[in-house]
Symmetry: C2
Subunit: 144 residues, 2 copies
């Protein structure tokens, strides 16, 4: 069972931006810290900005900062914004080729289990996974 890379990156971006506190962060900084392509991060940042998790400050000394306090960013909400269909099996997305879609009772059970997953994520915020700036920067230095 896997989250999309998109969600994974979104969570990492939020951890990074939170850790920078009042300092604005650029996409290049995040890309370099995590070794993720800039193009991929652009899409992630656009989604996080559009969904009200990040604020993009324009201009030469611009960058990203959190749009609200870390304690107000529920991780379940982040995942809902980045995994819109939560298609845990193929019949959850459109055009399912499964022969028993019309009578299957598994989908209801999987939906309940997904709700169980999101319940936990909804009780945790970015503040619960925040990292002290020095801890984050140290880990990135060692890794790169």
């Amino acid at each position: 069972m896997q989250l999309t890379k998109f969600s994974d990156y979104a969570l990492r971006v939020l951890i990074y931006v939170e850790s920078a506190k009042d300092e604005l962060v650029t996409i290049d900084q995040i890309a370099s810290a995590y070794g993720i392509s800039r193009a991929h991060l652009m899409k992630v940042v656009n989604t996080l900005t559009r969904e009200g998790f990040l604020t993009a400050v324009r201009g030469r000394s611009g960058g990203l900062r959190l749009a609200k306090s870390p304690g107000d960013i529920r991780l379940g909400d982040v995942l809902r914004a980045t995994e819109p269909d939560f298609a845990i099996v193929e019949c959850f997305s459109t055009g399912s080729p499964c022969a028993i879609t019309r009578c299957c009772r598994l989908s209801g059970v999987l939906q309940d289990a997904l709700d169980g997953f999101l319940d936990v994520m909804d009780r945790r915020t970015l503040a619960d996974i925040a990292l002290r700036p020095r801890v984050l920067q140290k880990a990135i230095q060692i890794a790169n």
Copy 2:
């Protein structure tokens, strides 16, 4: 967020075999019903047999049947057998390239959420998603 196709197929195989009640089922029957490749199903069936969910009866009129009653097959246990690492993000599997693996607090939260998912699946058994033979066969006829 997605289960592997392997798990998806494993659950479908169990639904099919349960629906056949005392009749033995062949891999060819399941492959044809769901339009899944025989080779892929072989691996799924091998895992389900090895893990004690199915019994394979050998011989010319052999086939598969459930190894225990549907009410004793917990869906959480099936997923544990078919999704061994539950690598919901890449750092859950070995060789993670994420720069902050060493200090990340997200993995603990995701593990709790996964436990929430599996808690629900553990409270459901194959009996909860069983289909009456005529209902299953009718759906398959319409689909094929």
